[in-house]
Symmetry: C2
Subunit: 355 residues, 2 copies
């Protein structure tokens, strides 16, 4: 079975962690003779911008379009305003390729300790499904009266029935496959009084088609608090682009850190490539030092395998990561150790051969 993969290492620690993920791809090919990856690298990102005045070539999306999957590192550097680097690279890929599902497991791995005093592995095992193409990430707004005391900026957000139905159906279907049969939707319909009440209506409407699923709407403020106080309640959590963004960084924190949590930007219909990337960003402060934690990037390969229909390999990758964490000897500095990015990657990959 042959898959084509575009690799965009991007900025900061992106290339370092992506390297380890690529070693994992090699290992997968080795262990599972049937799978072959044809991969092509694209050095797009902030350095590319400094030379070319744009984050990727004009026909960048055209180039990516026919790949099965994209492996992404990270985006963002001090040299380019964030709203440019992001709106010219990662967001067009997510939005134009209809990667409307941003899937992010929040799972306390074996060998990891939660910063939450009384929570353990059984308490911390859920998935956040984040809408990934519309909502608050909408390139619409403006500014007026610049430089006067009357200056102001406005920004729009957009919630479509089309966009909400597809993400909610995905989330409910996932909830049906999981144990707790429960779905929690993030809202803020009390204050954000046009878009969010519409979201609530759709959550209720669509929940009618999934009678086996217990559905709960929580305001985002309360929900963020519950991630700390009662995470064991959650199974599938679904939220808008912004709320999903906040909840997943917070989710990463309660399971031990941003260095670990992966994400899939998925087009379930496979009409376009899906993209896999760590939740963490480019972390300029530690870039180039060889000490970034590659687990999030390697685990993203696990999500890629799930997406490609090879769940057993996805599971094997998570098992390998867990086994290394349980051993505990090899840990990057963010996990309290002194291992390098490469040592951590190597440990996981050699563990993989033993399982």
């Amino acid at each position: 079975q042959f898959f084509s993969m575009a690799v965009i290492p991007g900025d900061g620690i992106g290339p370092e962690v992506t390297n380890e993920a690529l070693k994992m791809i090699k290992k997968v090919e080795e262990l599972h003779g049937g799978m072959k990856f044809y991969s092509e690298h694209f050095e797009w990102g902030c350095d590319y911008y400094l030379k070319n005045g744009r984050m990727m070539p004009e026909n960048g999306l055209e180039i990516l379009k026919d790949f099965d999957v994209i492996l992404f590192g990270a985006v963002g550097a001090k040299t380019v305003p964030d709203y440019i680097s992001v709106w010219e690279l990662i967001l067009p890929i997510r939005q134009k390729f209809q990667q409307y599902v941003n899937l992010r497991p929040i799972k306390l791995l074996r060998g990891m300790e939660s910063p939450l005093r009384y929570k353990n592995h059984e308490d911390l095992d859920f998935v956040v499904i984040r809408e990934n193409t519309e909502g608050e990430y909408f390139n619409s707004g403006g500014r007026v009266h610049e430089g006067t005391p009357y200056e102001l900026a406005m920004q729009n957000s957009v919630f479509t029935r089309f966009g909400m139905e597809r993400i909610l159906n995905y989330a409910f279907t996932l909830a049906e496959k999981r144990k707790k049969k429960s779905l929690t939707a993030a809202t803020k319909s009390n204050a954000i009084n046009f878009t969010m009440p519409f979201w609530d209506e759709l959550v209720k409407e669509i929940s009618g088609n999934y009678p086996g699923i217990k559905t709960q709407l929580y305001h985002i403020d309360a929900l963020a608090a519950y991630f700390v106080s009662r995470p064991e309640e959650f199974d599938v959590v679904v939220g808008s682009n912004l709320f999903g963004d906040i909840l997943t960084d917070l989710g990463a924190a309660i399971v031990g850190g941003l260095g670990i949590s992966p994400s899939g930007n998925i087009n379930p219909e496979r009409a376009y490539p899906s993209m896999f990337e760590p939740i963490h960003g480019s972390a300029p402060d530690i870039a180039g030092k060889g000490i970034a934690n590659p687990i999030a990037s390697i685990w993203s390969i696990g999500l890629m395998m799930d997406h490609l229909g090879h769940d057993h390999i996805g599971k094997l990758i998570v098992d390998s990561i867990e086994a290394v964490l349980v051993d505990g000897n090899i840990r990057t500095p963010d996990l309290g150790g002194t291992a390098t990015t490469v040592e951590m990657g190597d440990a996981i990959i050699s563990k993989m051969a033993q399982l």
Copy 2:
């Protein structure tokens, strides 16, 4: 010294906890002969709505306008859509009275244990300053193509130089008075690309006037994670209406729960009344049972005293709450005890007399 106080107990557990706060007001008058409160009660809220088709009388704001302070309970009931109850009561008060500072201490009280495994009292003591009049809480948007597959809703947010300057100046001035001389601003300028870059610019511009303050901008997703992983870093945190809302519920969670955290909606110029209320909501599930925790409401009286220039009484109130928590015998169910709302209130008030 004479103060006029409007009391709006509101919905759910609002009246129960407000009752205890009022007992505290009485105690303050008793212990500090100089202070006198003239108070008037307004039974506005969802029940009022069911009878009158509105959350408060048409001239409600007119009625409130000349009070020095407002004591607020909670708003929200299953009987009225949240966006109505909120937009017709609490938000008009905050916005029309230019209560642009929503001040929310995030402080682990003595006698309380943080749910964060390795964090103690020194690590958890900061203040969130939330913009309270504009931003994402902007009654502007619309919906089109209802009932068709093409239905969509849009919502605007608005950030003015006027609004941002005043909240940032307040936050920086507060930071100058505190120990760590540091200010953290929440942003999301990478994705929300019109309003948030403007916010960032103003943070940088205004920080120039406060050279003694170390200023840091974090994206809201990372910042939420840092509330869990390194809360000891924070001193004054400033954010937009929505970001401040999310951060303060999360903040309440890391210091032991929503039942404890108070807030002040402050008009620093005192051109209008300021309002004091618990962070928690109306909690319909436990309303009427007499088991709600009154600490947040009582502590709100502490913030009211600070605002009225009686910081020493404010401090005494917090000390009394802490002393009762340290004793540990009297705790409401949310704190693992069996005390009633009234018992908890009484304990704090009688402790106050002993300090």
